[in-house]
Amino acid sequence: MSVYNQRLLTPPGEEEEINPYRPVWRSFVIENLALVGVTLVAFVVFGFLRVHVSDRVNLILNILLIALPVALWLIFSVWRERFVPQPRPRLITVFVISALAANAVALPLINNVFQPEQWLPLGGAINRIIGYAFTVGIVQEVIKYAVVRFTVWPTYFRTRIDSVAYCAASALGYALVLNVSYLISTPNATPDVMAVQVFNNVALNLAASLLVSFGLAEVSFDQPTPFLLTITVAFAAFLNGVVIPLRSGLTNATFSLTPPDTSTLIGLFLATFSLKSSTPKPILSFVFSAAVLAGLAFVVAFLINNAERQAREAAASREVS
């Protein structure tokens, strides 16, 4: 009688490769989905249902909304690093230095020297895009890039995805200062407006930093053209240039006069209603920011995965030969 022996029939199981690093994209998605959820809740409660709260509660809610992206990042990124064999060091250092650099260098330079609000709203669409790209955009992206470059690059870059983790930390530090600055300038903003503003700042900074993270990763692990990093920084600045005026255009109310046909009696009657105005639509800018962040995240994830696959294939072919 033959005896069934599982060990002889089944091939030896391959040992599952343990990733010693925290999966960055999972944390990235969780944090941003949570932020989207909270923003939507704030918008429905305070924007749609128009729930009113006292000034003190309003301020507390605004502070909590500003702290939310940082809290989510601390829980799902920084704290999760403790449970992997090889945690990423200096994430908090990058975050803090980015916030300090934003407050000490970037914001004074933008608000006191470039003063974009004095001259950019007066220009046409193209002028505004170029203007924001070469002032706000470049200052913002170079500051974040420089913090990562001189704090952790290349010493703490072990895989390409490290670049995403550190650049996201830098982006959140910078966005925190922007959000606090917004709260100081408009302390009475309702929580729905604050939630959308917080999300917009976080989304734009993250999206632009993702682009730069790809450049830093490639320079660290591959031999790209020396212009690649510059191109990613330039694209990130250009992204700011496009998104800032478009976002404002989507949010702000419009006031337009549609010339009616006054040759007929009905046309004359309709002329009364030809002056049209709209109300501010912060939800449009929120959707736009979310789309930009999701789109850029997909593109950068694809590029980084593709670069890693190519690196693996190149290493394998070297081993074979």
Binding site: F114, I130, G131, T155, F157, V219, Q223, V233
Partner: protein, 202 residues
């Protein structure tokens, strides 16, 4: 006893020439971009539009994004910065025929009397001699008043306005160039007025 220090492995390798240049290019690009940004700002803020009035004999360049008004008989033209929140920064040019005996002091006294009746809290700060960019002698009069919005539904807080008149008499007519600005932003806006005076021909 030997001490074994356990530290995390770090990549401390020498940067390649390519990596170094990658970073150099970023900073070179950043400097270029900032330079372009400054130029864009200057080009937009300092952009001017010419105004020519052959009848009065005035040629001026006013900021491009300011709104011009030539409809009033009280002045030849007036330009206002409509993008300014609150009180709109204003440059106004008026011309008045004068006799040979009329002095700058007579005209400024008349202006002061008229304004004291029409403007709230009007107060002259100083009158000093002033030399125009074309070396012509003129008189400067600095003053302040309080401007309240005429629309009561706006519930706005009155603004302290600081004004500066430059009065010059030439060929039987007096030209009065007036600059008005919110007192808080007067120093920031004055370079615009100075550029206007530098380019003014009459």
């Amino acid at each position: 006893m030997a001490v074994i220090e356990i530290t995390q492995e770090r990549r401390v390798e020498e940067l390649t020439q390519r990596q170094r240049w990658s970073h150099y290019f970023v900073f070179i690009y950043a400097l270029l971009a900032l330079f372009i940004g400054f130029n864009l700002r200057s080009a937009t803020l300092d952009a001017t539009t010419p105004y020519v009035n052959n009848e009065v004999g005035i040629r001026a360049f006013y900021p491009s994004h300011w709104l011009i008004d030539t409809t009033s008989s009280a002045y030849v033209f007036r330009v206002q910065d409509i993008a300014q929140p609150g009180f709109k920064t204003t440059i106004q040019v008026g011309v008045q025929p004068v006799t040979a005996n009329t002095s700058a002091r007579n005209l400024l006294d008349t202006l002061t009397l008229n304004r004291a009746n029409s403007l709230s809290g009007y107060n002259v700060i100083q009158r000093v001699p002033y030399t125009l960019p074309n070396s012509q002698e003129a008189t400067e009069m600095d003053y302040v008043y309080v401007s309240a919005d005429s629309n009561p539904f706006l519930k706005s807080i009155p603004t302290v306005v600081r004004g500066e008149d430059i009065l010059a008499i030439r060929r039987g007519q007096a030209i009065i160039i007036t600059f008005l600005s919110d007192a808080e932003t007067f120093d920031d806006n004055q370079p615009v007025f100075q550029r206007f005076l530098n380019d003014l021909q009459f």
